[in-house]
């Protein structure tokens, strides 16, 4: 794709899909923007009139708002840290030649196929439940009081559940990246006197940077919108302890039936996502090219 004419042809070829994608994006965005300045509450008969920046101000003045922003970022960050670190370690483990490797890999991948509400229910009722949960059985086995996960550590619990769901994705990407590392490079490093840790540090980890970048970018996109797991388990509570921005928008749109406010929240979420994307691309985006 280096000559003038092939470049022009390429542009012409992608133009239609760029156009469709642009419409696809701009129409909902414009409508949300429009509603965010309107008075539009489903429970009142009067649904017209401009309200200026009132909806936005309501969010900014709401005591829950900054907590929700923090929770959203903590959820994204926490899950990213857990999935990347554990994902690399598990990928290193199941890359070793062992008996039943195929089966093992399928087992590791399988949580990814469980739908988010189902996964959350499983965790809530089978693991974290104060009476029937596995964890409480274990703590009782040690003669201790069961931990009230969803009451005392709601955000951590959600982070745990979401990490469990996304770990297979990260592991899978890292595993394929590991398999593309030439064994001669590792052998050369071994001959050069690199200890197993140094081989990881200087050969494997640099080889994985692109995969790690891909995992971080893709997961961030999905994690910013996490909703189902919170809805099924904590409902954003206790209080607002596990309310994230998407959950706050949901409360305005569906519980309070205030479309105008929810739209303003949506626009704030878009801005937040763009800020996150900007810093991500500045921080790690360079690992994607070359």
């Amino acid at each position: 794709m280096s000559t003038q004419s092939t470049r022009l042809a390429a542009r012409l070829m992608v133009a239609p899909s760029v156009f469709v994608l642009f419409i696809w994006m701009i129409v909902p965005l414009a409508m949300t923007l429009y509603f965010s300045f309107r008075f539009y509450r489903l429970l009142t008969p009067e649904r017209s009139g401009w309200v200026g920046f009132n909806h936005y101000l309501w969010f900014l003045n709401s005591p829950d708002f900054w907590l929700a922003i923090f929770n959203t970022l903590a959820l994204v960050g926490g899950v990213l840290v857990i999935t990347v670190i554990l994902g690399v370690l598990i990928a290193l483990l199941i890359d070793q030649p062992v008996k039943g490797q195929g089966m093992l890999r399928i087992l590791v991948i399988s949580p990814f196929f469980v739908m988010p509400p189902v996964a959350a229910s499983i965790w809530e009722n089978l693991f974290m439940h104060p009476q029937n949960g596995l964890f409480s059985a274990i703590t009782r086995g040690f003669g201790m009081q069961p931990i009230l996960f969803l009451e005392d550590y709601p955000l951590w619990s959600v982070i745990g559940i979401v990490s469990w769901e996304w770990l297979p994705f990260a592991t899978l990407i890292f595993l394929t990246a590991l398999q593309s590392l030439s064994s001669e490079q590792l052998e050369a490093a071994e001959m050069d006197g690199a200890s197993p840790f140094n081989r990881f540090r200087y050969i494997i980890l640099p080889h994985l940077t692109r995969a790690i970048t891909v995992v971080i970018l893709i997961q961030t996109i999905f994690l910013l919108g996490i909703f189902g797991e919170i809805f099924t388990t904590t409902q954003g509570g206790p209080g607002s302890a596990s309310t994230t921005l998407p959950y706050m928008i949901f409360k305005q749109a569906i519980v309070a039936k205030d479309i105008g406010r929810a739209a303003a929240g949506g626009i704030i979420a878009v801005i937040l996502a763009n800020i996150v994307a900007y810093f991500l691309m500045r921080g790690i985006g360079r690992h994607l090219d070359n």
Partner: protein, 332 residues
């Protein structure tokens, strides 16, 4: 120091005996070449010496000390891989310095050694590039650079030139030979290219199916092959073998005569018809079908005026005939 001694070294992968048992000693400072057909176990043997594979049984001693179970890093050997195995995310400088860094050497000493190696290998202007931005020959040099900075007691090369084009191969061959002459370090070099073997080696080890067929200097192998395999493997074009009546005249099961030891001329004892001719300029290779039905290759002058279908008479130089018994062993 770099004396390497293999005693009854055996290697099997599961059921398959790749190397059924090898005794070999490599003297300090020697340039030893392992040759043999593809799949005969050359790389495996090299990797056993390097410590990248475990021996099934037998011992490997380096400088008189048993190294059979030592990890690769502790053996003091450096290896150059066929695929170069450079670290793609590091600059050439960092690649070459890597073994020094792993050894915990000071930054200034590292820099000095890298500088010296780069000068020897003409890499000075490429030190800040990544391996991906280098040509094949330059990558090869970086791989060699990474090996020499450690000042190992021996170098192991596994077909280092097989990814290079013919002209570059000749150049690198000479560079490696010169490197050996200036460093005087033991080098073990694996190849299946017998020209490389003949031109570079002090000592050639001919391997076949995991067994050592013969060990000797290049000319020794050329003049005195101990068996049919070595006779056929060393020398290009291949030695001609004749069995049956012709061999019986010499009291042997098989006789061998090299293409360059067949003279063309009237009064020759073998009559035949010229088949394929290959004109290389300096030489001409003729395939001659003898009247007895056997095909022999003849190496003649570059300007010999013989063509397909011409009749020729050939006479072997009597002193250059190799005789082999029924089991393939050379007869004195």
């Amino acid at each position: 120091m770099g004396k390497i001694q293999l005693t009854q070294v055996r290697k099997s992968f599961g059921e398959v005996d790749v190397i059924p048992g090898i005794d070999l000693s490599i003297e300090d400072g020697e340039f030893v070449v392992f040759v043999g057909p593809s799949g005969c176990g050359k790389s495996t043997l090299l990797r056993l010496i390097a410590g990248l594979e475990d021996t099934t049984s037998g011992t490997i001693a380096i400088d008189g000390k048993d190294a059979t179970t030592l990890p690769p890093a502790k053996r003091g050997l450096a290896m150059v891989f066929q695929s170069y195995a450079l670290y793609p995310h590091m600059s050439v400088r960092k690649n070459i310095a890597f073994p020094l860094k792993m050894a915990g050497m000071s930054e200034s000493e590292q820099a000095a050694r890298v500088e010296r190696a780069a000068k020897v290998l003409n890499l000075t202007s490429y030190l800040d590039r990544r391996p991906g931005q280098l040509s094949g020959g330059q990558r090869q040099r970086v791989a060699i650079g990474r090996a020499i900075v450690r000042e190992p007691s021996a170098f192991l090369f596994d077909e280092p030139l097989s990814n290079l084009d013919a002209a570059l191969r000749v150049g690198m061959r000479q560079e490696i030979t010169e490197l050996h002459q200036s460093l005087k370090t033991t080098m073990i070099y694996v190849t299946h290219d017998q020209v490389e073997a003949m031109t570079m080696a002090d000592k050639i080890v001919v391997l076949n199916a995991g067994r050592v067929e013969q060990v000797g200097s290049p000319l020794d192998l050329y003049h005195h092959p101990q068996n049919l395999f070595v006779a056929g493997f060393i020398g290009s074009p291949k030695m001609n073998f004749l069995a049956g009546a012709e061999a019986a005249k010499h009291n042997a099961a098989t006789i061998g005569i090299r293409p360059e030891h067949l003279d063309i001329g009237a009064g020759g004892m073998w009559q035949g018809t010229v088949g394929l001719t290959e004109h290389l300029g300096s030489d001409t290779f003729l395939k001659v079908t003898l009247d007895s039905g056997e095909v022999v290759t003849v190496r003649a002058n570059g300007d010999v005026a013989l063509h397909h279908g011409d009749r020729v008479a050939l006479s072997p130089q009597a002193s250059k005939i190799h005789r082999f018994d029924a089991s393939g062993k050379a007869l004195a």
